[in-house]
């Protein structure tokens, strides 16, 4: 069974719809420039902003004035609407529809604007309900009239959107969904601009991926979504491209750095090729992750060389067009890859001039080229590396049929702070230096459950969390509010993404298998369990470590109390180890 893509929607720095994005790509016109909409002290940093104010987006979407919408939601809704319009599906009712969105920053743009006020008065307190990533997906569904759709939010930092598409394809294959709208959306925020700045990986000039003089990335924002259907369900002339293969693997190396040999990236590309039944020489274009940081580009180059050897197809990074749109980059670049295939051109790797011997040589743009298959790479913090293969004609024949039965091998949980002391059994003090209570709890429950079941390393790690790394995120935000945008702590930011939890476990276990994080409010664990069961039933994994981990802080508990909501537990970590029943 193949998966057809029947609709595309996009909004990013180089255009607010498909025709304008295509024109910019062909004319080699970058959208990176001086900050205009984001309110930050760091005006010296170029950014790839969507050229629309929130008010303009609200009126494009016919929304009532006065509600504090996150830019993440607004951009996402614009892209979803475009994609649905192009797919032109007559009836959604009676069909199983899923909206799968990748985001990490979520509603942070709204929270950071009101954070101080929220602590002082009740006036803006209600915006807390727009903070978590899952709420942005629910809002997009609501705005786009997808009321009956199942909403799922994936948060694996910069690979979130490709992982959304992967999950969507799997759900179509197993029949869990008839129509999937998948992609990602991420608004620029002061929070992550400052975060990346603490990591000293932001270039003050326009980024130059793979160039010897590259000095980091530029942040961007945007959203892109694709409508996917089983090819049998899509009318023949409607398929714009096919998803023929994909791979999700973990580098399991470091929270913010890629390994030298690009192991995670290598495994992800190899798996995608195997699923598509394609050889490296069948790939005619690679849309690289290519962020422009000193660390990413040689690591990705090493991985590409390992897969493609001496016959590397044209490669480009399109990050110098859009900036790094983080969680949205995977779907934005999936759309670029499809446009390249449809229109027969290789987008330029803008800014590249000087060869770095440790990097591949990117393309400066090719016209009139026949592209049958594209590899699109998307890598995230924690080594959450994913690759997807898009094709002009369908290749995949694999049926994701349920062949196996799921068994619960062991369970564990922690709900009290006292238990965290036991972490010493598994972790050296020097390793614990950065571990907050959520990291300690998730590590402890995970290690204990594996020990109980006498399993060294699971095949896959799936994490669920409603609020993610609440404590470190709150400290980082509080720091910005109280002390301004200087001298902030990188340690806090590097542990602010939701996938910090799952990737830390992978790093500890050196587990290169499938690794994903779901964040969908109270339904987070449900999303994770469905994925885990799917992996086991379809034979993709024999053992899956599923964890649901959340924490609270005194400030957050205070917010909940003032809103008349139940007070959350300070720590709540539960894990289930699933296995295949023989």
């Amino acid at each position: 069974m193949s998966i057809a893509i029947t609709g595309l929607g996009i909004v990013c720095a180089i255009g607010n719809d498909i025709p304008s994005v295509l024109a910019s790509l062909r004319q080699k016109k970058s959208g990176i420039g001086t900050m205009h909409y984001l309110q930050s002290e760091h005006t010296e940093l170029p950014v790839g902003e969507v050229k629309l104010s929130n008010e303009e987006m609200e009126s494009m979407l016919n929304l009532d004035k006065g509600e504090a919408w996150s830019r993440t939601t607004l951009m996402g809704a614009i892209a979803v609407r475009q994609a649905l319009k192009q797919a032109n599906i007559d009836r959604l009712d009676g069909k199983k529809v899923a909206l799968i969105s990748g985001t990490t920053v979520g509603g942070m743009d709204v929270t950071e604007r009101h954070f101080k006020l929220m602590q002082e008065s009740d006036e803006m307190l209600s915006v807390i309900s727009k903070h978590d990533c899952g709420s942005t997906t629910d809002d997009i569904a609501r705005i786009c009239g997808l009321d009956g759709a199942e909403t799922i939010t994936v948060s694996t930092a910069c690979s979130s959107a490709v992982n959304s598409i992967i999950i969507g394809a799997e759900m179509l294959k197993t029949g869990e969904a008839d129509i999937v709208i998948a992609g990602g959306t991420e608004a620029l925020s002061k929070f992550h601009l400052n975060g990346f700045n603490t990591l000293m990986i932001l270039d003050k000039e326009q980024c130059r991926p793979f160039d010897a003089t590259r000095a980091g990335l530029n942040l961007g924002e945007g959203a892109a979504f694709v409508v996917m259907q089983k090819s049998a369900d899509a009318e023949d002339d409607k398929a714009l491209a096919y998803v023929s293969g994909y791979g999700n693997r973990c580098d399991a190396f470091h929270q913010t750095a890629s390994s030298e040999d690009g192991e995670g990236a290598y495994l992800a590309m190899t798996e995608a090729l195997a699923m598509a039944g394609l050889k490296p020489q069948d790939i005619h274009y690679i849309n690289a992750h290519g962020t422009g940081t000193p660390n990413n580009d040689p690591s990705e180059s090493a991985a590409i060389r390992r897969v493609f050897g001496d016959s590397i197809p044209p490669i480009s990074s399109t990050k110098a067009f859009t900036g790094h749109t983080t969680s949205a980059s995977g779907s934005i670049e999936t759309v670029f890859s499809i446009l390249a295939m449809q229109n027969g051109f290789v987008p330029a790797s803008l800014g590249w001039e000087k060869q770095d011997d440790n990097c591949i040589t990117p393309s400066t743009g090719i016209n009139n080229i026949d592209i049958e298959n594209v590899v699109c790479n998307s890598f995230g913090f924690g080594g959450n590396d994913s690759s997807i293969i898009l094709s002009k004609t369908p290749h995949t024949e694999d049926e994701a049929t349920a062949q196996y039965v799921v068994d619960v091998l062991a369970k564990d949980e922690i709900e009290d702070m006292e238990s965290l002391k036991e972490i010493k059994e598994f972790v050296f003090p020097i390793e614990a230096r950065r571990m907050g209570k959520l990291m300690k709890a998730s590590c402890l429950t995970s290690m204990r459950v594996l020990r109980k079941a006498n399993i060294e390393r699971p095949d896959a790690i799936i994490t669920a969390t409603a609020n993610g790394m609440l404590e470190t995120s709150e400290q980082f935000l509080q720091d910005i509010c109280e002390n301004g945008e200087q001298l902030l702590k990188p340690t806090l930011f590097m542990q602010s993404t939701h996938n910090t939890i799952g990737s830390a476990i992978a790093i500890r276990l050196k587990c290169h298998g499938y690794n994903i994080t779901y964040t969908q409010g109270e339904r987070s664990l449900e999303c994770a369990m469905k994925d885990a069961e799917r992996l086991i039933r379809t034979g993709k994994a024999k053992t899956v470590l599923v964890g649901c981990h959340d924490e609270a802080t005194p400030l957050y508990c205070g917010f909940m109390k003032r809103l008349g909501l139940p007070e959350p537990k300070m720590i709540d970590s539960r894990v289930i180890l699933l296995g295949r029943k023989d």
């Binding site: 603490t198 000293m200 929270q255 913010t256 950065r434 340690t491």
Partner: protein
């Protein structure tokens, strides 16, 4: 110099959350990264923030830290020469 070394050790323990360590446990000449204390690239970034915050020394490129952060002794030497506060 001795005083600066002790202060630096205390500050390193604080910014890197080395909760269970005392200044005496950090050897002045021992490597901080890799085989020594086992610090990594993020710790180096924290040390860059520390230099700016406490001593008014600004490193524009994280690669500059490589030689400076070899040991507490090398940090002390660099701070002594370059501090602006």
């Amino acid at each position: 110099m001795e005083e600066l070394i002790l202060t630096l050790k205390k500050q390193i323990i604080e910014v890197l959350n080395l909760e269970e360590m005392t200044p005496e446990e950090i050897e002045t000449d021992a490597p901080l990264f890799g085989t020594g204390l086992g610090l990594d690239s993020i710790d180096a970034l924290e040390l860059i923030v520390l230099l700016e915050k406490e001593y008014g020394i600004r490193l524009a490129n994280p690669a500059e830290g490589k030689d400076i952060f070899k040991s507490v002794a090398t940090i002390a030497e660099y701070v002594h020469k370059n501090r602006t506060k």
